[in-house]
């Protein structure tokens, strides 16, 4: 295992070392010490490696991740796993605003709460949050899944496209064009698979409600003007 201590090693050295790794690397396990809220820790990794970050990170932790399994043993600042392509990012603490924003693939697990705008403009990423999420989450969410075991804040799924949202707790309010939808057998299956991937065993899929697009705002139609 390679251990890099950010108290002595500059962040750029850490990230360039991580960027040097590729498929089949011998250095498959990494540990990062003393991140102390620094920005852009372990961003842009493009290799099937494991990175354990011991402590809280600032903006964009694990951003643009491809293939790597990144675990943040602490909380994450704004934009954690932003634009993730594949692999996974696990946050053991809370995440600040716009967690998983614009993500195209991979799995983001937040074991604490996520703040506002979680999954904004998500495009294929799967996000599982054990706690609550803040307002304007899944705004303009295009595809992928957002699973929330706690509550959701105001305006969930505003102007949503085809992302699927599963919320176990209360939804404070739904955004424009977002509606509750029926949980059909295939949705229970999808949700069960997501919970399993996230390592969550203590909840049942029947405890969740599904939300998605009413599909009224895809194209402008004067009859739907009130919905905007």
């Amino acid at each position: 295992m390679r251990t890099i201590d950010l108290a002595v090693t500059p962040l750029r050295d850490l990230n360039s070392e991580l960027h040097r790794q590729s498929e089949g690397t011998n250095e498959a396990e990494w540990e990062v010490l003393n991140p102390r809220g620094q920005h852009a820790v372990a961003v842009g990794v493009d290799a099937p490696i494991k990175v354990a970050v011991r402590g809280p990170v600032g903006y964009y932790g694990g951003g643009m991740n491809k293939k790597a399994v990144i675990t943040i043993h602490g909380s994450a600042g704004p934009g954690v796993a932003e634009n993730m392509m594949s692999g996974s990012v696990v946050v053991k603490g809370d995440a600040s605003q716009y967690a998983g924003a614009t993500g195209r693939g991979g799995l983001l697990v937040i074991e604490g709460n996520a703040a506002s705008r979680c999954g904004i403009s998500m495009k294929g990423i799967d996000i599982v949050v054990r706690g609550n999420i803040g307002h304007m989450s899944a705004f303009m969410a295009q595809s992928g899944h957002l699973v929330v075991l706690g509550d959701a804040g105001d305006a969930l799924g505003d102007s949503i496209y085809e992302a699927k949202l599963f919320v176990r707790g209360n939804v404070k309010s739904l955004g424009a064009d977002c509606i509750e939808k029926e949980m059909r057998p295939e949705h229970h299956e999808q949700l069960a698979a997501l919970l399993e991937k996230a390592g969550i065993k203590d909840v049942k899929t029947s405890e969740f409600k599904r939300y998605g697009s009413a599909r009224k705002l895809y194209n402008f139609n004067i009859d739907n003007a009130d919905a905007y």
């Binding site: 102390r36 809220g37 620094q38 809280p56 903006y59 909380s75 600042g77 809370d94 506002s116 307002h135």
Partner: protein
């Protein structure tokens, strides 16, 4: 952008370290606000005395004889302690208003940064760590402190445009964000007798809270009201003689993170600002909710 730090001590044992802790918190926020910086420190008070912190662009000239001139004007002894471009004047509490009026009327180069029993405000244009060194923040002690690093958007990069803003006795406010209804609100406040030193939107917010507190509200109630009356983006951290408050607008774009232990309550625009605090590893760390008032009083 802008960076905010705040530290409200519950444990008196930490009071000698207030300046040191605030300085290292402020240093982590330099990139968020490289234009100017400032801080309010709630330090010691002397019974029956008030402190007026003043600033001058030409301190060598303006501060000479200022204490003597004020002593004559108020009819009581006034002492002065100069710190670089700033100075703290100590005046009898019942003469503080006369002293303020005298400074405004007779000393046009001297600007009042703050007035009150315990508050001292220092602010200048420049890189934040340089500003904190200029005034020896590290050596200061006290019960609570609020600091700000500014990246200007709404008005000019000047000493007076730097934060914190103080619009009432022992009150101060720092702001990250921008207000969109500050002009109309300012007209209303002016109509009710509030005065303004700058064109800055944050000064309007500070003045608004003072105006509310003058109506008999406490800081918590004034902050609650601000949610109805202020439009725009804001994360505010506000201090009074005994209080420390935090509020974010309902959209809450401007970042904020807080930590609390048995020893202190701390605020940072980012976790980096909190990373060096004692016991942070086991502190309760959380992101303040939008449109929610957080308020501590000692």
């Amino acid at each position: 952008m802008c960076g905010i730090v705040g530290l409200f001590l519950k444990d008196k044992a930490l009071e000698p370290r207030l300046g040191e802790l605030t300085a290292q918190m402020l240093a982590t926020m330099c990139e968020r606000g490289p234009d100017s910086a400032g801080f309010a420190v709630y330090g010691s008070s002397e019974s029956g005395k008030a402190k007026i912190t003043v600033q001058s662009a030409d301190a060598d000239k303006d501060f000479v004889g200022l204490d003597a001139a004020l002593s004559t004007a108020v009819g009581s002894p006034v002492s002065i302690e100069r710190k670089s471009t700033h100075a703290v004047l100590t005046v009898p509490a019942d003469k503080a208003e006369v002293a303020r009026q005298t400074i405004k009327a007779n000393h046009p180069g001297v600007r009042i940064m703050s007035a009150g029993e315990t508050i001292e405000i220092y602010k200048e244009v420049g890189w934040p760590t340089d500003v904190s060194q200029q005034f020896h923040l590290r050596q200061m002690s006290g019960s609570h402190a609020i600091g700000h690093t500014r990246m200007a958007t709404e008005s000019a990069v000047t000493t007076l445009g730097a934060h914190p803003f103080s619009t009432g006795s022992d009150q101060c406010l720092v702001h990250n964000g921008s207000l969109s209804n500050h002009n109309s609100l300012k007209r209303k406040l002016k109509h009710d007798g509030m005065t303004f030193e700058t064109e800055n939107d944050s000064e309007v917010a500070a003045s608004y809270l003072t105006w509310r507190m003058n109506q008999g509200m406490n800081l918590g109630q004034a902050l609650e009201k601000s949610l109805d009356d202020l439009d725009g983006f804001f994360t505010f951290v506000v201090g009074t003689k005994n209080g420390f408050g935090v509020i974010r607008d309902p959209i809450a774009c401007k970042p904020a993170v807080m930590a609390e232990t048995d020893q202190y309550v701390a605020f940072g625009s980012e976790y980096r600002a909190l990373a060096g605090l004692p016991g942070i590893e086991t502190a309760r760390v959380w992101e303040p909710e939008p449109a929610t008032v957080y308020f501590w009083e000692r």
